[in-house]
């Protein structure tokens, strides 16, 4: 196939083209820019879906670009990233209407998506590092997009901490090169030198510090609540629904490539510990919030704990649960942030103490929020239930029943704080700013509806995802 027809090339190019065209088209028509952005992101999603069908058909095509390649693992994440990228841009059409500096917003939004795609499709540690930095810089500008004091603070904290994380990742990369003599993920597979036992845990430790910081793992999560809360809700949906997962995914990929992700191993146990702490601390802090976006941000910390815990168990079921939770959290939290954005735009406040009875004026948003809440809490038949069930089963099979108890308690607490938020915003009598609120626009509702549909679909019918992820898990367990 000629190079120019390579779907992988177009998957990467479409967000970049969208970013490059945005300022020029914006000078002609702001509306055209918004819709063109959404259309190009939708095309990227279709290309990712096409690649997903090819890969899940059993004959993975040998697509590659310099520094990037495609396999069952990468295509799963690419599909998630493009899905969230599309819903965020579609949502932005109306949500960002009338805002200042939209050229910068759309340019950085598309670069952010391109950076995340490069991160999950990277075939070498160098391209992974460069993608990590691109992703950080583009998202930092988006976090500091608003003109308030807090947005500048959040952007500053975010870029400083994430760059420090990148420094640790660089250390992990250089130790990997020192031990293995290569930075290609595929070549690292099964090449563990006999005298590397001392260095390997340090590779794992630096990778956990660097990428764990980006994933929002406790105690390295200090940037996350500010960044998620201060960014526009469309960006928060991408930060929480896609970015922290790409970091967790890159971490799993790196650790498995250098063969340190083994059941009961030092690095695996470290991940389980960080996962457990993240779950508990994230839940406790979410419980204490009254700002809905900060509460959701801490909820992301709680959920990243599930992902890290499943990955740290390093069993096939644990990794399956972890990857499934990446999908379910992407859908659920992406949806919840979009719903929160609709409420904030309609009411003008982030504090759910000032709201009440919004289900009368925003019934569709209320139903969609409830779906996100139930899915994130792990209530059947939504997708969150399936992924949490897999992680719990994996912990039980690995001989950690106490972990299962903790996960159940955390899930119940998650349900409690999310229902408290839902009740405060949508139930009861209209109060405070509620009477002024109006239902979200059709384009905003369409993007939310799409995510809600998938939350239900993959909860009721998880088989295709499980089959596809089983192949991805084999890749992880096999090395690169």
């Amino acid at each position: 196939m000629p190079y120019i027809f390579s779907p992988l090339l177009w998957l990467m190019l479409l967000p970049v083209i969208a970013g490059a065209l945005s300022p020029a088209v914006g000078k002609v028509s702001g509306k055209a820019r918004s819709w063109l952005s959404a259309a190009l992101e939708f095309l990227a999603f279709l290309v990712a879906f096409h690649l997903f069908l090819l890969v899940s058909g059993g004959s993975p095509p040998a697509f590659s670009l310099p520094g990037l390649s495609l396999d069952g693992l990468g295509v799963f994440m690419a599909l998630t990233v493009t899905l969230l990228g599309f819903t965020a841009t579609l949502y932005s059409v109306k949500y960002m209407d009338g805002e200042m500096n939209l050229d910068r917003y759309y340019l950085c939004l598309h670069l952010f998506v391109a950076g995340m795609l490069a991160m999950v499709l990277a075939d070498s540690l160098v391209s992974m590092y460069v993608a990590l930095e691109v992703m950080t810089l583009a998202s930092c500008v988006l976090v500091a997009y608003r003109t308030g004091k807090e947005a500048a603070e959040a952007g500053y904290k975010y870029v400083i901490l994430c760059t420090l994380g990148a420094v640790f990742m660089l250390l992990s990369i250089l130790l990997t090169y020192q031990v293995f003599g290569t930075l290609q993920l595929a070549e690292l597979k099964g090449r563990v030198p006999s005298d590397s036992a001392v260095v390997l845990p340090y590779i794992g430790l630096f990778a956990v510090l660097g990428l764990g910081l980006k994933a929002g793992m406790v105690p390295l999560h200090a940037w996350l609540p500010d960044a998620h809360a201060e960014a526009p809700s469309s960006v928060s949906s991408l930060l929480s629904g896609a970015m922290i997962h790409t970091a967790a995914f890159a971490l799993m990929r790196l650790l498995s490539a250098v063969s340190v992700l083994t059941p009961g191993g030092e690095v695996g146990s470290l991940l389980v510990s960080f996962g457990l702490i993240s779950m508990v601390v994230g839940t406790m802090l979410a419980l204490a919030q009254t700002d809905m976006k900060r509460m959701m941000a801490y909820s992301s910390v709680d959920h990243i704990g599930f992902i890290l815990l499943g990955a740290g168990l390093a069993t096939p079921l644990g990794l399956l649960g972890s990857l499934y939770h990446v999908l379910s959290h992407s859908l659920g939290k992406g949806l919840l942030f979009l719903c929160a954005g609709a409420v904030i735009k309609a009411s003008g406040t982030r504090s759910f103490r000032e709201l009440g009875g919004l289900s009368r004026s925003m019934p569709a948003t209320a139903v969609l929020t409830l779906i996100a809440v139930l899915s994130l809490a792990g209530v059947p038949p939504f997708t969150g239930f399936v992924s949490k069930f897999f992680v719990c089963m994996a912990a039980f099979e690995a001989g950690y029943p106490a972990l299962v108890v903790v996960m159940l308690v955390v899930s119940v607490t998650t349900l409690a704080y999310l229902l408290r938020f839902f009740h405060a915003v949508f139930m009861g009598k209209p109060s405070g700013r509620s009477p002024e609120a109006k239902e979200a626009s059709p384009s905003m509702l369409a993007s939310m509806l799409f995510l809600a549909f998938l939350c239900v679909l993959f909860g009721v019918y998880p088989t295709p995802v499980v089959e596809m992820l089983s192949g991805a898990v084999s890749l992880l367990l096999g090395g690169a």
């Binding site: 500091a144 500048a152 420090l164 090169y177 020192q178």
Partner: protein, 198 residues
């Protein structure tokens, strides 16, 4: 051009002592100048590849220009405050000892050891300084040191140039964010901007 051990040692020591100077100086113009020297001290490492050398030189000068621009735009010349000396020095000591202990496990060479200590110094500055400007410089020192370590261990030329360019972009965005915070709070003091809230 082949790099010799002596050049490496001199470069590494220069990086380390310049890092120390950066962490201690109070005047922002002097700090910017020392940051330039810090970037240039990595030049001997790029001698094996002319492209790498040129890009490194360009990046060091560009970072210097960005730092001066920041000082000019903010109009603030001197550091606002520092952490209590005991806390600050204890943290630095712990970091340096930890870095040295980890590296001694691998029987590393002197340049690598010195870069690792510079890295610790950069992380120390980034985590414990109260000045927006110094925090940015701390991260810059840390990236430079990690970059130096990478060149020492691996050093594929393409990766080196990519890392140089990323470093410039990162410093630019960090300074931009620091400027936004300064603009909105009227202070370079991290604590006054309530940046450390949990």
């Amino acid at each position: 051009m082949k790099k010799g051990m002596a050049e490496l040692v001199v470069a590494a020591l220069a990086v380390f002592f310049l890092s120390l100077a950066i962490s201690e100086l109070k005047d922002f113009h002097q700090l910017s100048f020392f940051a330039l020297l810090h970037g240039l001290a990595l030049l001997p490492l790029s001698f094996t590849h002319v492209e790498g050398f040129t890009v490194r030189l360009a990046v060091s000068l560009a970072v210097f220009a960005l730092l001066l621009l920041f000082v000019r735009r903010t109009g603030v010349r001197r550091e606002t405050a520092a952490l209590p000396a005991v806390l600050s020095l204890s943290a630095l000591g712990i970091l340096l000892v930890a870095a040295a202990a980890v590296l001694s496990l691998f029987k590393v060479s002197l340049p690598v050891m010195v870069w690792a200590l510079s890295l610790a110094l950069g992380v120390f500055m980034a985590m414990l300084k109260r000045d927006l400007f110094k925090v940015v410089l701390g991260v810059y020192v840390a990236i430079n040191a990690a970059h130096g370590l990478f060149l020492e261990f691996a050093g594929p030329p393409v990766a080196s140039i990519a890392f140089d360019l990323m470093e410039l972009a990162v410093v630019g965005v960090m300074l931009w964010m620091a400027f936004l915070v300064y603009q909105r709070y009227g202070s370079l003091d991290v604590w006054r901007a309530n940046l450390l809230r949990w």
